[in-house]
Symmetry: C2
Subunit: 282 residues, 2 copies
């Protein structure tokens, strides 16, 4: 392409679309699992699409990656061992490793090609991949969690695509039971939970399945994410036992920079709008 | 149209687009000021576009209308006289009139056709138009504010389109000086202030112009708004003198229902993400 052109993602379940002005396609690979495409855009840096769905832009991925990691890590009392299921772009891993107390972070994505593309086109997201605490696996996350030593993990982060295709098995009771077993007693599971405007049923069902697997407390935190349908997204935290205790003082004293996350935005995200709260309590 | 089809709005300043799956065009009128179109959508109810830009959907306009009204009204100590500049769809007027203390609410939109279309295709937004406290004017909002009796208004709400075309004159010092003069000493100006992700320069400039006109304190409140570019929007409050005092107890005790607004979401919206705060403080 020489002239910029517009490219759209039609999100069928919500009847809405998101689009970008792009200058050219930089790469495309058909992995055994999915089609990965990279575009260059006029205003959002590089874009990654998987099976036609926008995964991330260079400009706004900080919102998602910060909110998938720091709320959970500043809620757990002392997170040392973290497992990321999915997360092949390595952005969540980078945020997790900003916490000096983390001793080990495993990233298990089924598709090595996602990470290869991220290394090439989003190198800033991969800058912690060589951290000695990081372990990158390319394997089935469902099997990984099922085989994890019981009570060995502080936090499981499920950083997956939508619940269709390879990620479908990451949204049900069987998978959550594996997470529950792998977590220590004070462990926390956090999962991307789609749009709080149009996919409230999915969030409610997800929390229901987590509850059936034994989790005792849930928090859904909304945040803006322009490159995902409706521009409004969420993560859902589940606690293996007891309730959540946000380490606000520690979050305020953190030694690393963030763009969206702060002790205050974390606290603010714990407030659900009335229509969301009502739907989740149904 | 018989088959649903996808319709997109390309937002040139940000290089991003928003789209909807629509079933048919219900109406179109070329007013002396702009082209107004109404579509029926599969998932978002009726849509209104002005000059090709999405103005509102039946499904998500509550976010904008609640956040354009209640934060300002629950910040002013005792709002009795409210002026809405623009706001022709009448949704902000409806929210303002939910406050029993409001004695008079003037809506001044330059384009009567916007209100006629809203009455026909968004009747729920117009349900307070016959309230004896409501006064609907179809006139130039810039002239209306310039001619307003000094010190006669508690709150001015600028509920306009983007700062191009008819609304361009609503984003500069001359207009803000008119607002400043019309407001009582404890008066508040609130204006829609575009996307806090991609239009931070605009918000900073707007606050600068408001400051030149004499306003002493500013608060920019972000909120989700899927039908506007990036899905993340904001309003900016300016105080004629002194600082803001959020009547949180009153907001908590309010007697009317809201879907997004609450004392807690208002409080949460007062927290700016670090990158927004840094940009506005530059």
């Amino acid at each position: 392409m020489t002239e910029p052109t517009w490219m759209y993602e039609n999100f069928e379940p919500a009847g809405s679309a998101i689009g970008y002005r792009v200058t050219r396609k930089l790469d495309e690979v058909q992995s055994p699992f999915q089609k990965i495409e990279i575009y260059e855009s006029t205003d959002w840096g590089n874009l990654m699409l998987i099976d036609g769905a926008m995964m991330l832009t260079a400009r706004d991925n900080f919102l998602y990656h910060e909110m998938m990691s720091h709320p959970a890590l500043f809620t757990h009392a002392d997170p040392k061992r973290v497992v990321i299921i999915g997360g092949g772009d390595c952005g969540t891993l980078r945020e997790v490793l900003r916490h000096p107390g983390v001793e080990n972070a495993v990233q298990c994505d089924i598709d090595e090609q996602v990470t290869r593309m991220a290394e090439k086109y989003f190198p800033e997201l991969c800058e912690s991949n060589d951290d000695p605490r990081a372990q990158l696996l390319f394997d089935d996350g469902i099997a990984y969690m099922a085989n994890c030593a019981p009570g060995s993990v502080d936090i499981v982060i499920v950083d997956s695509t939508d619940p269709v295709g390879p990620a479908e098995g990451l949204f049900n009771k069987a998978f959550y039971e594996s997470c529950f077993r792998a977590l220590k007693d004070d462990g926390i599971l956090v999962q991307q939970s789609e749009s709080p405007l149009v996919l409230l049923d999915l969030i409610r069902e997800m929390r229901g399945e987590m509850g059936k697997a034994g989790f005792t407390a849930f928090k859904t935190l909304p945040f803006p994410q322009p490159c995902y349908p409706t521009g409004w997204w969420s993560c859902t935290l589940a606690k293996k036992s007891g309730d959540f205790h946000f380490r606000k003082v520690d979050a305020r004293a953190k030694k690393f920079e963030t763009l969206y996350y702060s002790a205050d935005t974390h606290h603010a995200a714990l407030t659900l709008p009335p229509f969301v709260a009502a739907a989740l309590e149904k």
